[in-house]
Symmetry: C2
Subunit: 369 residues, 2 copies
Amino acid sequence: MLAPDLPALRGIETPALVLDRAALMRNLAAMAESATVNRIALRPHAKTHKSAEIARLQVEAGAIGICCATVAEIEAMAAAGLPGLMLTTPVSDAPKLARLAAIARGTALALVVDHPDQVTMLGAHLGGDGPPLQVLVDIDVGQRRTGVCAPPDTVALARAIAATPRVTFAGIQGFAGHVQHMVDADERKIAAAGVAAALHAHLAALRAAGFSAEIVTGSGTGACAFDTQGPYTELQVGSYVFMDADYGRLGRTGGGPLPYEPSLFVLATVTSINRDGEFTVDAGVKALAFNGPPPTLMLGAPEGSTYRFGGDEHGMITMPPGHAAPALGSRILLLTTHCDPTVNLHGRYHVVDVDGRVTRWPVLGRYGS
Amino acid sequence: MLAPDLPALRGIETPALVLDRAALMRNLAAMAESATVNRIALRPHAKTHKSAEIARLQVEAGAIGICCATVAEIEAMAAAGLPGLMLTTPVSDAPKLARLAAIARGTALALVVDHPDQVTMLGAHLGGDGPPLQVLVDIDVGQRRTGVCAPPDTVALARAIAATPRVTFAGIQGFAGHVQHMVDADERKIAAAGVAAALHAHLAALRAAGFSAEIVTGSGTGACAFDTQGPYTELQVGSYVFMDADYGRLGRTGGGPLPYEPSLFVLATVTSINRDGEFTVDAGVKALAFNGPPPTLMLGAPEGSTYRFGGDEHGMITMPPGHAAPALGSRILLLTTHCDPTVNLHGRYHVVDVDGRVTRWPVLGRYGS
């Protein structure tokens, strides 16, 4: 089990991302098993981990490919030789389309679009060579973020895709980001059913127009247990690899938490102990994403302690009554707040094996890196 | 003036940090002028910009040195040859002290401590060679983050510093982070006066014990106009170089905003335009810090538009009634939310000159970089 005083962690400069490899592997196995039982494919999302090593472990566990949110992520995954890459964000500008076209010359890719102009631009940027590009219609299933709203627009886009050289219409995406984080399992289940119904309406319109959707992709860690019953052919789950203070709050139907465990922590050092009942660590807003609940699990701090942000480089931990502060310089492992943007704050993972050895894995494709 | 359709910005992949050099230079000049008039020194804080180029401009404008929040920042500034480096965060662990000792062999440094054990550890890590290290006592002026609380503890620490070879007692730091962001000028002025009174009490205790504080450092962009009257010998102002949606809300005594202007923006691309009255850009939680008000200024969007976060890679902009969405692929310049942690999300600045030319400056010392 991960402990903040592991000898191998002593030389690591804090704050630092620490990944419990055994817990990660159990999460990968649990999701793979669930997919096998439910006869559904996994194309996990790399926006969570931005790591070629973790993506490779996901593929080794049976995933058919890897989803990416940015061109930089898909470039990094293509360079690492990962198969079945899909970009889940519509692209609408020339610099990114040029980079995508360069990847597409050597690698089979899937993309999503939500507007005819994107199809036209895509056609203009693709050269004549390379494997055909799979293009899916992105559908707005209630998040009001990207996607087509009405089924007739989905059909029109499918027609535009089919009429464009070197691309093939491959199906639809409906990502319900707003549903994934609903804490109550019943509420989440009902919302997921609503999303599935919306996707069925788009699929019916496509069928009536003579199109078949080979791929129906969407879902996430919060709703995947329900979405095995939906129209999906594959699930783009992400956060299950790490879990975090946010997903840790989510219930599962029948009670209890989701069947995945915390594997990702931020290692911090105790830097100030002058106030009764609390102490300060060197992990603040630049080490832990702010858009999630503060860490609920703090290894090295008394049980029941709470964390509050103290600016860029500081976090304050309040202990339950009766505890003395840890020694200056000692270490605390903080559960991540919201895992995806927390990973993005760090340049590398420190991966801890069961024998206590530490390996470094880079975080890839951060902006301007 | 900065415009999102500047030809030189066209090839930049979004989201990206864009810095208006003319506005930056005006901010540097305004703060330098204010310091000259008030006969106070500036040691601006690099945690805001993490840039050797901006630090150099600050020194050229008259600053006596540069503050840093982390060892990685002070390493980067030392490598760039910047003078007068001060680390404003107490350090309590061996890996960081070893790196600091390595810098201190060739560079004059100032550090802060808030516990006798830090002085002992510092003494143990410093070798016999190199210039003397200036050590200040960090004082908790109400933020409950780091610092000594009671004046007798300040005196005890000054004695411990004075008794340690190769270090000299140089003064005190009192940083009131909680005061800097108070929107109302009168409330901020009263709070700043309370902080000054607390520092005076610590200074009186030091004087009574025979210590003189050569340096009294603290303050920030929000309170610096008041702190010229306090016990400070120098101001560690940071955010004035960029301003942001947060500091843009702050009033000044007598009315009007602070006398600095927005210079830092995030360039984003319009990626989805399917919903009436709003559109989506490719700048979300991984491009704009979440711990600040959303952008209040959006160049390229209709006046009165509002931004909401849409996850890692998306932001949604709602327009006032009667406006059509910009074309897919067009660009928007978003004022930064909270500038310090927003900079930390990017690997580089794109600095735009008055003639429209763009230069890239790296963001230094991010975690694990």
